[in-house]
């Protein structure tokens, strides 16, 4: 969301401000997250990202811009990668939502998680959950075959630490193994 303050003329008010009712308008929203049903009482304008982080406490999904510009908030919805900051939680009822917390099976990491550790495909780790979810979504899509294609289709996930070559190494390793199965 654009910060409305930046567009306010002194003394005037932000027009959308008055379109929002004063009283809370909470709904009960049922989300299926990592195989579990979660019931939330939230307003319809709560993003999926904020629902995960602030209402459910699944903080593995990161907020990097809240604008769909960085990819840190990437989660899998019915196997497809999406920016959870550009999605309202209420819209994803009845979908299977998978976050970074839902990838490992007990102590056993998902192969993509293993590969990220092995290839040091991160530094600060903040974009990492988004990168991993995006990489799994990319493999599900099945359209990226070369290193260049993977690179192009991973370009929605910014890594400010600049771990890109290592991220590609990790994805190629997982893809390679998957391809031989």
């Amino acid at each position: 969301m654009i910060n409305p303050r930046e567009y306010i003329e002194p003394g005037s008010s932000w027009p959308l401000g008055h379109a929002v009712p004063d009283q809370p308008a909470t709904h009960t929203v049922k989300l299926n997250i990592n195989g579990q049903d979660v019931h939330l009482k939230i307003e319809p304008w709560v993003s999926l990202l904020d629902a995960l982080r602030e209402y459910i406490g699944l903080t593995g999904t990161k907020k990097g811009c809240d604008h769909g510009q960085c990819g840190a908030c990437t989660v899998l919805v019915d196997g497809k990668r999406i920016n959870s900051c550009l999605t309202l939680a209420v819209m994803k009822q009845g979908c299977e939502i998978t976050t970074i917390e839902g990838l490992a099976k007990g102590d056993e990491l998902h192969p993509m998680q293993e590969a990220f550790v092995e290839h040091d495909a991160y530094q600060c780790g903040y974009c990492t959950p988004g990168q991993i979810c995006s990489a799994i979504g990319l493999i599900n899509e099945g359209i990226a075959n070369t290193r260049d294609e993977i690179s192009e289709l991973m370009s929605g996930n910014i890594c400010r630490c600049g771990a890109y070559p290592h991220i590609l190494d990790a994805i190629e390793q997982v893809k390679g193994v998957a391809g031989h199965e």
Binding site: R5, P10, K63, C70, E101, G125, C127, I158, G162, I167
Partner: protein
């Protein structure tokens, strides 16, 4: 003196070669699992669902003037909005400037005090904090707070527009060397010369994690503060002095940081805001900035360098002049080391350096990855390339011809300098000898291909630090220091050093950091953490060894009755005789027999200044770059980079490679992408988001090769390490600029090199 002597002992204790079970190995991060599972917790991710309040910051839409009226009535009428803090209702806080000066504050300034005045000093200045029960409500209520302003028309923004106001800073953090020889005269007498100006604009750090502080208000009125910072002790002392709290009343914790790059060297204003609201409301409060607000504080300053170089017909450098102008704010004088590199990198007897500041109506600039170094080395290394071209000498050969065997700025030898070897190995890997000497003459399809080289350099400093170590009878070792891991791998490398030193497995070591209750450590910055905290960890583990060995000798029937520490080996949780490995005691046996459950040491490690001051201590690198420039569109792609780095001992080849790699990506970013664009009429940055403030994405990065050149240095610190946080970025932008020239025959002297500059 006694501490210095202590350090002397520690340097002696260190075998010239630390034989590596762990050190020097490509070891995966010990915190890797936490990072890939989402369990690593960052500043905004604590105490969710405990009724914590949300703060939303309102930023000023004007750059200069006064707030004449505030009306928060409508916002406060919303159910669930608790308060709106503005300059009208913020309580009296610390009075003196020094209370607001943190460890990285420019000396002698008046740090910005949020919400304490109606005056607007810069655009996006925080002017209010809205506190509500949910994030959505706080954000919505922020749109209901009305401000009226008196806008000051006379606005000073734009470095070049305000050059006439340039002045010498009262105190330069890195004193500019006095002139040597007569540079003007030598320049006039030079056969080959260039006189050019080099510029880069404002850049913002933009770590992926936005600045956040979570303040937990305890039952005992004490605060536990989770802050995004590169130094918990810096945040703690700031909060203590501004809000008049004691050490016990404000504990600062930061186990993980989603990138810093210098942005976290000073406490950012969300910390002040969250603490303020928490103390006033006696509730727990969380404040997270927006991505737009990440452009509202310190940044790399726009800098202009006017450089003149002169050389003989044979290509010997005879004159170096660098006159630098960089911006600062109206309330602090921010300085960085931009020009000194020009007097240090190459052998030259006639040098004149100068650095002036231009105060603008912006926030104070802030150290950003290799502050000053990337700026100064960019300009110098492009200028050297230009001079080499004019002299008709290969740019690599030109650098070797003028190689500095000693640091002429300081008139001191280098503690170590394997730069020649960097040039050699880098050139070989890159294939430099196949370079076409002619510019603009290599075509591949529709792309002009160019090769460029540049040198990198950064300080190899060691600071004082403390560390504590505790070995328990079950053989588990806990080591701690209040340092940070901003993605650099601190957790991992300190675990390696501790395990290696004491002879235990890495799995048995827990390294703790990022908590203000831990032993003192400086800010994580300046590439000094490995040297500083690493030396402290090594020292404390050495002391623990000595203690344990002393105990082992006293144990009944000890096999070490007459042995000295150098006669034994610490390995696999045992002490054994070098001569006879069958003669051993396990750590557990020693402690059980001595009837103790654990042993502990707490120590201070100080740099051996007496020795270090005899030398000039730097890391060096040679960067080789290939670019492809579309001859119709002017788009530049960096197709290949080889960066050969001499940085002393490498502790972890895996995380080190990542650091240098990241630095190179930053260099590519600086050369081709990053630029915060100022609207000179309104004094506001126009591209305050990640779609318009360009940083490289995956597809922008191609083949990158990192070489670590072997370098031995027993002066810099007991570990012989030099640090890697900055060196990777330095020189990259110059190498790219030089490659673009080689590809196109066009010399671009302001960054970033965007396509309009090549068409």
């Amino acid at each position: 003196m006694s501490l210095l002597q202590k350090l002397g002992v520690s340097a002696e204790n260190l075998a010239p070669e630390i034989t590596g079970k762990y050190i020097g190995k490509p070891i995966s991060r010990v915190d890797g699992r936490a990072k890939v599972t989402g369990n690593a917790k960052y500043a905004a991710e604590f105490n969710i669902g405990t009724g914590i309040l949300y703060g939303y910051v309102i930023s000023s839409p004007i750059a200069k003037g006064k707030i004449t009226a505030v009306n928060a009535r409508q916002a406060l009428s919303q159910k669930g909005v608790l308060n709106v803090f503005t300059h009208e209702n913020v309580p009296g806080l610390a009075w003196f400037d020094r209370s607001y000066q943190d460890q990285d504050a420019p000396p002698g300034g008046s740090p910005f005090r949020p919400l304490q005045s109606d005056e607007i000093l810069f655009s996006q200045q925080p002017i209010a904090l809205v506190i509500a029960e949910t994030f959505e409500l706080a954000r919505y209520a922020s749109t209901l707070v009305h401000f009226e302003y008196e806008v000051k028309e006379e606005l000073n923004v734009g470095l070049e527009l305000n050059l006439y106001k340039a002045k010498k800073p009262k105190k330069h953090r890195f004193p500019v060397p006095k002139p040597r020889g007569d540079a003007e005269k030598a320049l006039a007498g030079s056969v080959v010369k260039i006189e050019e100006a080099y510029y880069h604009g404002y850049e913002h750090h933009n770590p992926m994690e936005m600045f956040a502080s979570t303040v937990i208000y305890g039952d005992d009125d004490r605060l536990t503060i989770y802050d995004k910072t590169q130094g918990v002790l810096n945040s703690q002392s700031y909060v203590k002095s501004v809000f008049g709290l004691s050490e016990d009343e404000a504990r600062v914790i930061s186990p993980f940081m989603g990138g810093g790059f210098g942005a976290g060297l000073r406490p950012q204003y969300q910390l002040y805001m969250a603490v303020l609201a928490s103390l006033e409301l006696k509730r727990s409060v969380k404040v997270v900035l927006t991505r737009q607000q990440m452009f509202s504080f310190g940044h790399r300053p726009a800098t202009l360098q006017k450089i003149s170089l002169g050389a003989s017909a044979e290509g010997k450098l005879q004159a170096v002049i660098n006159r630098c102008y960089s911006e600062t704010s109206t309330f602090e004088e921010y300085t960085e080391n931009v020009v000194n590199w020009s007097g240090q990198m190459y052998q030259c007897d006639n040098v004149m350096l100068d650095h002036k500041l231009v105060p603008l109506d912006l926030f104070t600039p802030l150290d950003m990855r290799a502050p000053g170094g990337v700026t100064g080395m960019y300009a110098l290394e492009v200028a050297i390339d230009e001079l080499a071209v004019k002299a008709g000498i290969d740019p690599l050969e030109f650098r070797l011809l003028n190689y500095a065997e000693k640091d002429q700025n300081l008139d001191k030898p280098f503690s170590s300098k394997e730069l020649r070897e960097c040039y050699r190995q880098g050139a070989e890997r890159f294939g430099w000898n196949k370079r076409n000497p002619e510019a603009g003459a290599t075509l591949e399809g529709n792309n002009l291909v160019g090769w460029g080289v540049a040198t990198g350099c950064w300080e190899a400093n060691q600071m004082p630090s403390r560390a504590k170590a505790m070995l328990s009878a079950d053989g588990k070792l806990t080591v701690s220091s209040a340092t940070a891991d901003i993605g650099t791998g601190t957790y991992t490398v300190m675990t390696q050093v501790a395990a290696e030193t004491l002879g235990v497995a890495m799995e048995d070591v827990l390294f703790k950091l990022g908590d203000s209750v831990l032993p003192m450590s400086p800010l994580q910055g300046g590439s000094w953490t490995m040297a500083t905290v690493g030396s402290a960890v090594k020292l404390v583990c050495d002391q623990l060894k000595a203690k344990l060995f002393k105990m082992a000798k006293k144990v009944e029937n000890s096999p070490f009755g007459n042995s000295k520490e150098e006669d034994v080996v610490f390995a696999d949780r045992c002490i054994s005789l070098k001569e006879d490995a069958q003669q051993y005691l396990t750590f557990t046996e020693i402690m059980r027999k001595s009837k103790v459950n654990y042993i502990e040491e707490d120590t201070t490690s100080l740099p051996n200044m007496l020795e270090q001051n005899e030398y000039s201590r730097f890391t060096h690198s040679a960067v080789f770059v290939e670019v492809k420039v579309d001859q119709d569109l002017g788009t530049v792609h960096v197709s290949r980079v080889v960066n050969a780095v001499a940085a002393g001992r490498i502790i972890n080849t895996k995380t080190s490679r990542s650091q240098v790699l990241g630095g190179i990506v930053w260099g590519i970013s600086m050369a081709l992408h990053e630029d915060t664009v100022m609207d000179d009429n309104f004094g506001r940055f126009m591209n305050t988001n990640l779609a318009e403030y360009h940083v490289p994405v995956n597809a922008d990065i191609n083949d990158i090769d990192v070489i670590f050149v072997e370098e031995h240095d027993d002066i810099v610190n007991p570990l012989g390490v030099k640090g890697l946080g900055e060196i990777g970025i330095v020189g990259v932008a110059a190498a790219i600029s030089n490659a673009v020239y080689h590809a196109t025959g066009k010399r671009v002297r302001d960054l970033p090199i965007q396509l309009d500059k090549l068409l």
